[in-house]
Assembly symmetry: C2
């Protein structure tokens, strides 16, 4: 069913653009490329969003909403062990189908450290999200902090090499450490 009013059309366009960004693994698509991928035209993108910047902002907001839903606190069943949660996270994030999403997140993070305030905000929100989600699986704030950094390093290695195993090994090792110090509960 085709969208009826202008707001619906805008929303449909932003969905399609986000899909294109995810597929490309970056926000760095020209308006023409983007429009083609979204089955629209540069003319219409500018018409509905006013500028490329505004379009990007809309797409990022939608992306953040999705990630919030997917990685919110309580996204995993309460009962499962830290090992299971960690393993599941890694398997999800490094699924081939998720690669675009991971690349796009990394692209935003990179924009953050290259000076983009929006990129920095995105990064900080993801950190917060994951921290809250992990708090119920890991024993203390320090282990959450370590996990986050280890996971990000693992993700970076995965992106650069395509090898899921390196990260899986180190995360398993991390889980093992958890166990050794917190063998119960």
């Amino acid at each position: 069913m085709a969208p009826e009013n202008s707001r619906d059309r805008r929303e449909e366009l932003v969905e399609r653009c986000l899909a294109a960004f995810v597929q490309a693994g970056t926000l760095d698509l020209s308006l023409d490329t983007l429009a083609k991928a979204a089955r629209s035209s540069k003319r219409m993108l500018v018409h509905y969003f006013g500028s490329r910047e505004a379009l990007e902002e809309s797409a990022i907001s939608v992306l953040e909403g999705r990630l919030r839903a997917r990685f919110r606190a309580g996204a995993f069943p309460r009962g499962i062990s830290a090992e299971t949660a960690i393993r599941t996270l890694w398997d999800q994030v490094t699924q081939p189908a998720s690669r675009g999403l991971l690349l796009l997140s990394m692209d935003l993070t990179r924009r953050g450290w290259s000076g983009s305030e929006r990129g920095r905000r995105f990064f900080e929100e993801q950190q917060r999200l994951w921290s809250e989600m992990l708090r119920e699986f890991l024993p203390d704030a320090g282990s959450v902090e370590t996990f986050l950094q280890l996971f990000q390093g693992a993700a970076l290695v995965y992106l650069a090499t395509g090898d899921r195993e390196r990260g899986r090994r180190t995360l398993d090792r991390f889980s093992g450490e958890m166990l050794r110090h917190e063998p119960n509960k």
Copy 2:
């Protein structure tokens, strides 16, 4: 002393361009910007290197040479503890003066995961370098692998937030774990 022959001039130019890349924290500088930073002209850059791509290749090679010298196996005195070595590495890498170098390395790594074969090669060489350097401080290959990923995640967080402390904390924690399992030697 001014360079005399054509090869010297080329080398001087590549040094200056590398310095510009480091200062910018990325290879993504236009030839004009680059030329200005190198006190030369686009015309001359093309004259000496033939193309932007060749220029980048030269600069990357020089960069790799420097990193090889700085992070080679044996770069640290044999006797020092893993804690000291790790702490020193972190302090060096996150020194404000090193920020451009870190950014540039990350930029190359990103190019690697965005499809650049050269970027991938750069990344793998750095991994190899650091592995060899760390082998004499860490007890086994697994801990080296974990350390590398943790360090890279820490560096990413440092770049995105500017906060050196987060990484310092998790690396100290990692050192502590080492100690707990390998209290002697």
